[in-house]
Amino acid sequence: MIALAAADTFVKPHLAYGSLWPILVVFGAACVGVLIEAFLPRQWRYAAQFGTALGAIVVALVGTGIVADRLTVRGGGVARGYFGSQGTVALDGPTMFLWGVVLVFSLGGVLLFAERHVEGGVSAFAGQAAALPGTESERQSAGLDHTEVYPLLLFAVGGMMLFPAAGDLLTMFVALEVLSLPLYLLCGLARRRRLLSQEAAMKYFLLGAFSSGFFIYGVALIYGYAGSMDFGAINEAVINNAGNQTLLVIGMGMVTVGLLFKVGAAPFQAWMPDVYQGAPTAVTAFMAAATKAAAFGALLRLLYVAFGSARWTWQPMMWVIAILTMVVGTVLALVQSDMKRMLAYSSIAHTGFLLTGVLGLQGAGELHAGQITSLEAVMFYLVTYGLTTLGAFAVVGLVRDSAGEQSTISRWAGLGKHSPVVAGVFALFLLGMAGIPLTSGFTGKWAVFEVALAAGAWPVVVVAVLASAAAAFFYVRVIVVMYFHEPDADSAYVVHPSILAAAAIGVSAVATLALGVLPGPVLDLAHSAGQFIR
């Protein structure tokens, strides 16, 4: 009966293919990649997969530019865009900006995935994922290349694009899973130190599944509160104060917890160091940069669009979480002896800085003319943080000894002497993360601290500047090791990469400097993205 009645009133959904196509290109290319894996001879796969992935991302990036250019103005000029697919996908300025960001990071990720020079002719991924570590079959697969990683990457990228664009909770959940599942797999595919890698994948999967549980439970509660999954409808319910407030508060908390897991905010950060350390470094680089951008985009949309009117409820909680995240990330990073773990904790601290920007949400009337908005600040910070992190992890992938990557910090002694260029670039990334002026980290920090201060969150800003000062210590410690310690026989050395990884590192380094000296164009771009559509 119900089905019939529905069929009577069926309206063809307006999907807005004209604006969705960058996502579809990525997903389509991912499917093509699966077919390539099935039907192409082994020796051609690398080139075909790499070409497909690179091409898809470049086309999607160009497409994002074209689509962003054609967005219609609405909401009195503060926002641009429209809903696609019956309101489930919001195609607005911030979405386009974040698409661009995610795609740029993915471009770097693809280049790092395809790097074969460093491992001596094969990629950094296990030849055969199913071969148990230490067995005969693993030794047989030593010379093989694993090319499934490219379609996996593309699926993750598609999920990451959908994530911040989601217009309702269900789409957001689907996007969350689509981006997470390929990443769980990718984490377990390291060629060297496979047990560590598989452990990382397992932890990531378990905790990720756990956080998804939180998220979906929260979705159910919110649905119970508002009677809709749609962000606009939830917002209206909040404004009209309809429904049970307890449901709203608990539901909001749970959904937020699910997202805070993904961005690695304390106290949900426990998976990050293990996963960042165990995953193949190229995957870590891609994941650290792109996942964070996508997840923060989703978090911003959820908090600003669906719960914007209830911000007096979530802002105090965000204060606590931001402070906790900065303190935990900074303090634990101080005692790390492994480079990847240190960068993971530093990434947690940066999540705290980003949250400082998130809680800087102000009502339209409270902002002064020409003042930077919290959305702009966070989006800008994502660009600066992502490029610096991508570059830093890419450099970590080059520093090796006979056993593979050498990420023990003390073994980097004297790197500045025998590899001045690589050490110099890495020092630049570290200075950028520390937020030294004339690097991108500084302008990013300035932006997020400003919006928090303007919103009256001065205690958070005070903690943030103190955490930045403490954070400088562990970044500088690495520079001391690289430049002022003498190399010995055990010291790691730098393997010169091919043009692929070199390009990713080079672009990141240039961006780290350029966004510190002349951040104007990117800030303007973030500004022109406008507000979320409602």
Partner: protein, 530 residues
């Protein structure tokens, strides 16, 4: 002539020189990069001097340039100097070539300050000179910036060359000293960042956000907000200056760094602390300044006495100079925060004089320490007999540090002391004791290190006297000390309009004179009679 971008030129020339120095091939004698560095710094000096001939003594910001830099942040590339800025730029431009000349062999492979130090590496030789030039460029930018954001950026950026200078060259524990230096400075700077951002928020509330110094001076900031902003700025500048209790990095750093680096740090970079207090605390936050005056004066007095007392007990000559500087910076801060024209003029003059006298003392001590292979005063003795020129100059510069009448620091110290007594008699009474303490440690140091019998087993006979290069680097400083000791008028003419402007902005007036001497002519007559 004022349309010509003099200040940009003064920043770009040493910066290009730094790049060229770093990029040049180092021949086996490493002469070429050094010559390029020296040439660049001398060119900068010439440009700075030529520029200052165009300076109009009426005051106000001159040689201004202004371009929008980051529109969203309200930041501008805006430069300009007033009396204070001009003197600091000139001080930087004068000291850098002297430091480069004095450090000619200090960064060579195998060169050490003390005998037990490890040698600097050969490939780092060029780096020393390149970083020194970079530091000069950034320091000039700090003193010339008239946009708070630009100031903050270059203020923090100076740490990078300073860090590599301290960490790369000098004593065995230089790495720890460099990290301590950097952490102190970064922590102070980041606290200031909160205040810098606070200024943006305030400025946004008053219309379009702008970081231009002139725009910020034009808005009225709520007194309570001023207090918070003041605290942020003040902590950063107190770390930089350094003021008790933020001073502990300074002796550690001067002990480990080469004396050339110490000159750049203590005589140029630390001036940014006092400069910032004048420019931002007094210039932008008059209510906050008046609110904090009692606390700041107390800290300054503690610095003056504490620095001097610890200096008496120091055996390491370079640490002694560090504590001496803490004491002297106390005087500068005291002069600034008593908020009177004598105090202000005295403080600014003190900044210049301290720069000259302390630089001279560090350099001559560096020459001595290199000859003796130790910085321990106890391990020296009898230098007078074998190196009379060295000992004589050491005495003159030491006497300058203790403000002997006839040498330029006297003028500034007496001005600050007069202002301190006018502020409150007990402030003056505490500050004036420093004259005794300073005489004690300077003369006692001279007595132990230079006079007396030659040390048995010592290497007095190896202690050559100063050579021509070394005398050449000290001669300009010696001349400046004597000339400005008798004739400080040119400096005062530049300083006084600036101090009057600033005090007017703070909203204080001098107390009515109790003696029949006009405050502005006081320095000339006092100094001239000596």
């Amino acid at each position: 002539m004022n349309d010509f971008p003099w200040l940009t030129l003064l920043i770009v020339v040493p910066l290009l020189g730094a790049v060229a120095t770093a990029a040049l091939p180092a021949g086996h004698k490493l002469e070429l990069p050094k010559q390029v560095a020296l040439g660049t710094s001398l060119l900068t000096l010439v440009l700075a001097v030529v520029m200052s001939f165009g300076y109009d003594l009426d005051g106000g910001f001159q040689f201004t340039e202004e371009h929008t830099w980051i529109k969203t942040f309200g930041a501008h590339y805006a430069l300009g100097v007033d009396g204070l800025g001009l003197l600091m730029v000139l001080l930087t431009a004068v000291l850098t070539p002297i430091v480069i000349g004095a450090s000619w062999y200090d960064a060579d492979p195998g060169a050490t300050l003390r005998h037990d130090d490890e040698a600097a590496e050969s490939r780092h030789t060029k780096a020393f000179f390149a970083w020194a030039l970079a530091l000069e460029a950034l320091s000039i930018a700090v003193f010339a910036a008239t946009d708070v954001f630009l100031f903050y950026v270059v203020f923090e950026a100076t740490l990078i060359p300073a860090y590599f200078l301290v960490g790369g060259f000098g004593g065995n524990k230089r790495r720890r000293a460099a990290v301590k230096f950097l952490i102190y400075q970064l922590a102070g700077g980041l606290v200031m960042l909160a205040s810098v951002i606070g200024l943006y928020v305030v400025s946004a509330e008053h219309g379009a956000p702008s970081y231009l110094f002139g725009d910020l001076q034009g808005i009225t900031i709520d007194p309570d907000t001023q207090k918070w902003l003041f605290v942020g700025f003040f902590i950063a500048f107190a770390v930089k200056a350094p003021l008790f209790p933020f001073h502990t990095w300074l002796p550690d750093t001067t002990e480990q760094a080469t004396t050339g680096t110490s000159v750049l740090l203590v005589c140029v970079l630390d001036k940014i602390g006092a400069y910032g207090m004048l420019r931002f605390c007094l210039g932008l936050l008059p209510d906050g300044t008046q609110w904090a005056t009692p606390v700041v004066i107390t800290l300054a007095l503690i610095s003056i006495v504490y620095g001097a007392l610890v200096a008496i007990g120091e055996d390491d000559m370079l640490r002694l100079f560090g504590y001496m500087s803490v004491s002297h910076f106390g005087f500068i801060v005291l002069g600034i925060f008593v908020l009177s024209s004598q105090g202000g003029s005295g403080a600014v003059l003190y900044m210049v004089n301290h720069g000259i006298a302390t630089a001279a003392l560090f350099l001559v001590a560096g020459y001595l320490i290199k000859r003796r292979g130790t910085a321990s005063i106890r391990a020296m003795g009898g230098v007078e007999k074998v190196a009379p020129v060295l000992a004589g100059l050491f005495l003159v510069f030491g006497l300058a540090a203790l403000s002997l009448p006839g040498l330029s620091p006297f003028v500034s110290e007496i001005l600050v002391l007069i202002a301190a007594f006018q502020h409150h008699w007990w402030v003056g009474a505490i500050a004036v004791t420093a004259i005794v303490w300073t005489a004690w440690y300077v003369l006692w140091m001279y007595q132990r290190a230079m006079t007396g019998p030659e040390l048995v087993g010592g290497r007095v006979e190896e202690t050559r006297d100063l050579d021509r290069r070394e005398v050449g680097t000290l001669a300009p400083l010696f001349l400046a000390l004597v000339v400005f000791g008798f004739f400080p008028m040119p400096l005062m003419k530049v300083i006084n309009p600036y101090v009057d402007d600033t005090l007017q902005h703070v909203g204080v007036h001098d107390p009515a004179p109790t003696v029949a001497i006009d405050g502005h002519t006081l320095p000339a007559t006092e100094g001239g009679q000596q």
